[in-house]
Amino acid sequence: MKSPNTSSTAETSAHTTPLTAVAKASADASALTDSGADILIKTLADLGVDTIFGYPGGAVLPVYDTLFDNHELNHVLIRHEQAGTHAADGYARATGKPGVVLATSGPGGTNTVTGIATAMMDSIPLVVFTGQVPTSVIGNDAFQEADIVGITRPITKQNYLVRDVNDLEHVIREAFHIATKGRPGPVLVDLPKDMLNTKARFSGMKKVEIPSFKPTVNGHHPQIAKAAEMLSNAKKPLIYVGGGAILGEAWEEVTAFAERTNIPVTTTLMGLGAFPESKPQSLGMLGMHGTWYANMAMTECDVLIAVGARFDDRVTGRLDGFSQNSRKIHIDIDPSCIGKNVAVEVPIVGDVKRVIPAIDKLASPPEISEWWDTIHTWQKEHPLVVPKADDRIYPQHMMKMISEVTEGNAIVVTDVGQHQMWAAQHYNYNHPRSWISSGGLGTMGYGFPAAMGAALACPDRDVVCITGDGGFQMSSYELATAVEYKIPVKIALMNNNCLGMVRQWQQLFYQNRTSYSVFGSNNPDFVKMAECYGAVGMRATNPAEMRQVLNEAMKIKDGPVLMDFRVVENENCYPMVPSGAALNEMVESDEECK
């Protein structure tokens, strides 16, 4: 996977910086054979890292020099550090393993910021390494100096500036430990250039002990018993599953629990795939663009159990109208998530993978046939609306067809906007880690690079990137990377020639004043765009062409393919809980909004 290197030998004598630190472990300077850069790469390999997404620059040249003849690590040369961070994030979401990024100082670091914030909001484990100017000039406004530790402090779980090369290995191990344990999140390690050049010893000591970081994993037993008792006696219970069930790999436990107790399940945008939508207990997604019946069930339930979900405002709607008559149980590994937006009666701090089976053991299936009757009536009266088919491509049909062609087995990665919500609604999610989307930050430009990361991580899976004409243009340059590394991402571009979600809000809440949200004919020719990078580009303007293009695209395994699907431009996404409305105040069509 490495790019071919042109010159034949690496100059090992390039490291001419004199020793500034001496390993504490040994007074024998001759034993210090590894530079900081060597230690970085050795430690990554030792931690089982197989892929890093990086971009070179002055401050990280020592690392690139080490990478020149190291073939253990697969370094992917992305074309922009933001995309690199998203790619590492997609890699992490697809596998559960931490994504790794390498960027240079200054602009390299600042370019990673949006990607780090995206990962932070969705609790994705990332370790980002940035170069820094040498310690001797930090604070002097040196060339390409930026206080990246300061800049990323609020958007990282932890960050470090390495000031002693003897700390380097340990800091790296700590960074991976913190990124992945408890509630996952991004960690940044800033590496001054002299730290990369100075020699020290690689210890191989794997143990990480952080006395101040001991996440609670086993729930408090009396609380678990109380939760089980409440659920056993509930008349209208509901399981509300969030991204924590994916991050905590608790999908089997959640599924077993719901099936045994026959309690209905709704998932958040981040929780899609944690419970198979093919099961009869599934009510699909809830929230702003959730199903009518999931939102009604949330409003009407009498006992609510939140599983790794955080009562986000896009899920709750107006708080004073949110599930007012329910007694609430909330399981989360992060205590600060509990009681933040909504008061709960039974908080359980712990790992959902352990807490759910503990509840399952104690709870008996509640008597809820009336509740199911009510839900079935809602489902019959308010199914997800799909337009009547004609010879045009409706966005909803596009998602359904992708679901059909991939048999619901693809990893779906989206951008942000209408297409994202339709993809969430109309693709059939039956597998965990198969829905990858920027939920918390809502980062346009996320989809395509994240899809590359997922495809590199899971070469045996089909990866479909469902993106918009707006969002795709925020990271389309990564076509170069996808072509270079033969990454077979299927880009399904829902081309409505506008920033659809913005236009929808303007139509609904700003009297149809569609200010700066319609591209019209100002969009590029996406097929030519793909072709100029050496990728395959195809276009479809009607359902028959769409099926043909999709079938064709699924066969391509040696590089990216872009499908420009010209969809009905004026379609809007429903149901919708208008912002400021309560969850049960949904609108289901444009007509209803007038």
Binding site: K157, S212, P335, S336
Partner: protein, 174 residues
């Protein structure tokens, strides 16, 4: 975050034991600025134990808000321990230096007030006295209130430092 009216009752003193580094200190301050919590005073000082520091924070909020603050503090990786001293018997001290004008009433009256608060005179000029007072925040507040009408020209306060009393019984030896 729920908004709270600031009252003496909603005042909380939190004692936070951390690993000594400025990144951690900034993270802790960032919780207050970034998430919109109240911060009245904060002190940061090295602990007897090497590599550790204690941060004493006074903040305002109802019980839920302070509980959230507590949880966020715990989430900072290098925080070892958070103690809410509010409902515990604790020893709390603050130091203030107050420069007050003697122009209106002359030195003796101001010095009398200082005496009442066990404050020390630490600087004298033709028309001003500088007083040093130590005590819990209420006492420091009280002296400042009394001195205000005479004209406080400058003032500096340390903010509270506090520790839990070993003996949590009903004796008060303030």
């Amino acid at each position: 975050m729920s908004t709270t009216t600031i009252t003496k009752d909603s005042r909380h003193t939190l004692s936070v034991l951390v690993k000594h580094n400025l990144n951690t200190f900034s993270r802790i301050i960032g919780i207050f600025s970034g998430k919109g919590f109240e911060l009245e005073s904060v002190t940061f000082a090295s602990e007897a134990e090497r590599g550790m520091a204690r941060i004493t924070i006074t903040t305002y909020g109802n019980e839920e808000t302070v509980e959230q603050i507590n949880k966020h503090l715990h989430n900072v990786i290098d925080v070892l321990k958070v103690t809410d001293l509010t409902h515990k018997k604790c020893i709390e001290r603050e130091l203030a230096i107050v420069k007050v004008s003697t122009a209106k009433v002359g030195r003796p009256e101001i010095m009398l007030i200082a005496q009442a608060f066990k404050a020390k005179v630490i600087d004298i000029t033709a028309d001003k006295l500088a007083l040093e007072v130590t005590g819990n925040t209420d006492k420091v507040d009280a002296m400042i209130e009394v001195l205000k009408p005479y004209g406080i020209t400058e003032m500096s306060r340390t903010g509270s430092v506090a520790l839990k009393r070993e003996f949590q019984g009903a004796v008060n030896i303030n």
